[in-house]
């Protein structure tokens, strides 16, 4: 439970400055002090003086000990200083080496995903998508049920990396996810930025909201409560926040609904931020927007299809078709009739 803390840093933080100065320098410590009711404390004195002034019972009442409070505080700052928040972003490739499917048959191929590329996952429900994801998240080393091995930047991760990186490697966006916190959009994003140690949280929040507005059909205001956003708006905020603020180098998207959001723009945004994008989809437009498709059957990777030239050529047609369907949707929303000659408008004959 203990590790070596720097005594110099401890003295700097606990003795050489007042609590107020400490909080000015490390604003993320505020929550930490809130646990012992910051608003009632004298912040003009140092932490060491504070610890001396209050009886041990004061800390016991908040489930703490004096030494524990000081140690965790120093350790927390040390961690924030030694681990720049963007360190995780430097994952250029993830390689999945083949293992076995649910029946124990060897998989025919593995998979390499690169930053700035979109890899689609296809296959029936229950085919084994979550097995693949869990292998990536736990950085499998031949020890998961699939027997797969996952390499980061071409090398096997150390045991320490497996736990340290593991759960922060993949940011997930699925259709079941909702905002549950009762805060305005802007305020919450500021909170997220602060938790990442971002220097200007308010500026970052404004950027995320502006970015979300390039994706959403309906305008999002920073003052709107998160829980009042429409489905499309909420998805737009999630994608913009993930692109700009999430430390995770991999983003998993579970099918972007074709409603209230510019899907093309959303993908370019994530790819432009050098994310490794994994998208589970059966939508032909999204699938062809990807660089490759991983076909999953019975828990194993059956094949990997690189998007071909002919497919890319068809993408243009599919996108045009999709846009026209979107036009029809807008017409329905506007209360119009769809009584024109649709087959010729959509360029189809029956």
């Amino acid at each position: 439970m203990t590790d070596q803390l720097s005594p110099q840093l401890a003295e700097e933080l606990l003795v050489n400055r007042s609590v107020a100065a400490l909080l000015g320098e490390y604003p993320y410590l505020e929550n930490y002090f809130d646990a012992i009711r910051l608003e009632t404390l004298d912040t003009s004195i140092s932490v060491a003086e504070l610890l001396a002034d209050y009886p041990e019972e004061y800390f016991t009442d908040y489930g703490l000990t004096k030494t524990g409070f000081a140690e965790v505080l120093v350790g927390f700052v040390e961690r924030m200083l030694s681990q720049p928040p963007d360190e995780l972003a430097q994952v250029a490739t993830i390689t999945v080496k083949p293992g076995c499917d649910k029946a124990g048959r060897p998989e025919s191929c593995g998979l390499t995903m690169r930053a700035g590329e979109v890899t689609c996952i296809v296959g029936p429900t229950g085919a084994g998508k979550s097995r693949l994801l869990e292998d990536i998240e736990s950085l499998a080393q031949g020890d998961t049920p699939t027997g797969r091995t996952v390499l980061v930047n071409g090398a096997a991760p150390s045991d320490e990396q497996r736990y340290d990186l593991g759960h922060r490697l993949v940011a997930q966006l699925t259709q079941n996810m909702n905002f549950v916190i009762d805060l305005p959009v802007g305020e919450f994003i500021e909170l997220h930025a602060r938790s990442r140690g971002i220097a200007e949280p308010a500026k970052m929040a404004a950027e995320v909201v502006a970015c979300a507005n390039t994706l959403a059909g309906e305008r999002i205001a920073a003052a709107t409560p998160l829980t009042q956003l429409s489905g499309g708006q909420s998805r737009a905020v999630m994608i913009a926040d993930t692109a700009l603020l999430s430390a995770s180098p991999i983003v998993l998207i579970d099918e972007i609904e074709n409603a209230g959001i510019d899907r093309h723009q959303a993908l370019s945004l994530l790819v432009g931020r050098d994310k490794i994008v994994l998208m589970s989809t059966h939508d032909p437009v999204l699938a062809l927007l990807g660089d490759r498709r991983v076909v999953i059957r019975n828990g194993g990777i059956m094949s990997v299809l690189e998007t071909s030239e002919a497919e890319r050529a068809n993408l243009e047609f599919l996108t045009a078709l999709d846009d026209r369907l979107a036009g029809l949707r807008a017409a329905i929303r506007a209360g119009e009739r769809l009584d024109s000659d649709l087959p010729s408008m959509l360029g189809m004959t029956f």
Binding site: G63, F76, F179, V180, L191
Partner: protein
């Protein structure tokens, strides 16, 4: 026999997480059993039985659940050994946020869920602060941003713990947890070991059955709110 304490607020998903981890432990051929400490009633024995897991439930009834836990835990360890278990998991609910069943030499796991709100990590206290492993559940229904803020708040109160996201429904993340459980320290007996944090203290007239609201009937270890209007 290896021994682990798993604690967490009610309905945070402890039982689901344990069952998911046991699926992986079975593949490693580790015979795992569960001792569940609960208050008034528990249907978890049925849940474990359905899953074919050796289990035992202890109900605290009218006693403080934590004091009940600590006076029974070593007996539970002896029971586990008699059952021939390779690993015994103790599951208990932290009912007042001040609870913490974690024992010094025993791997300590705390389960909390993303839906409980971002203020929860600060509120929970030693059950979370002093855990070696923090399992975060219900991440499949909240946004990535909220999960990240929640994880950051956990780090603020417990920087040393290994934090793992586990989905109690699909089991995603349970493998990583099972690896940590399988490496838990062996114990022969807990005699002479210590709690990581003192239990909530109590001994007032209500502890021994008083029900009347009347200052003259309130005696013992009392504390009153100061209302300085």
């Amino acid at each position: 026999m290896r021994f682990v304490t798993v604690a967490g607020p009610p309905s945070s998903g402890k039982t689901s997480v344990i069952l998911r981890a046991i699926e992986h432990l079975r593949q490693r051929e580790l015979q795992t059993g569960v001792i569940k400490f609960d208050c008034l009633s528990s249907s978890d024995a049925d849940t474990y039985q359905r899953a074919g897991v050796i289990s035992k439930v202890g109900l605290a009834g009218s006693l403080c659940p934590d004091h009940f836990f600590i006076t029974n835990v070593d007996q539970a360890v002896q029971w586990g050994k008699r059952q021939g278990l390779d690993l015994l998991i103790s599951e208990s609910a932290g009912l007042c946020n001040r609870c913490s069943p974690h024992v010094k030499k025993v791997l300590a796991v705390c389960v909390i869920d993303n839906l409980s709100g971002i203020g929860t990590p600060e509120k929970i206290g030693p059950m979370l602060r002093l855990a070696d492993v923090v399992v975060v559940t219900k991440g499949d229904i909240v946004s990535q941003a909220e999960r990240e803020v929640f994880a950051a708040r956990i780090r603020e109160v417990n920087r040393l713990a290994t934090v793992i996201a586990v989905n109690g429904i699909t089991g995603q993340g349970a493998f990583a947890l099972s690896r940590l459980l399988a490496d838990a320290a062996e114990v022969d007996s807990l005699q002479g070991d210590y709690l990581r944090f003192s239990l909530p203290s109590a001994l007032c007239s209500y502890c021994i059955g008083q029900t009347r609201i009347d200052e003259t009937f309130q005696a013992g270890n009392l504390r009153r709110i100061r209302f300085d209007d």
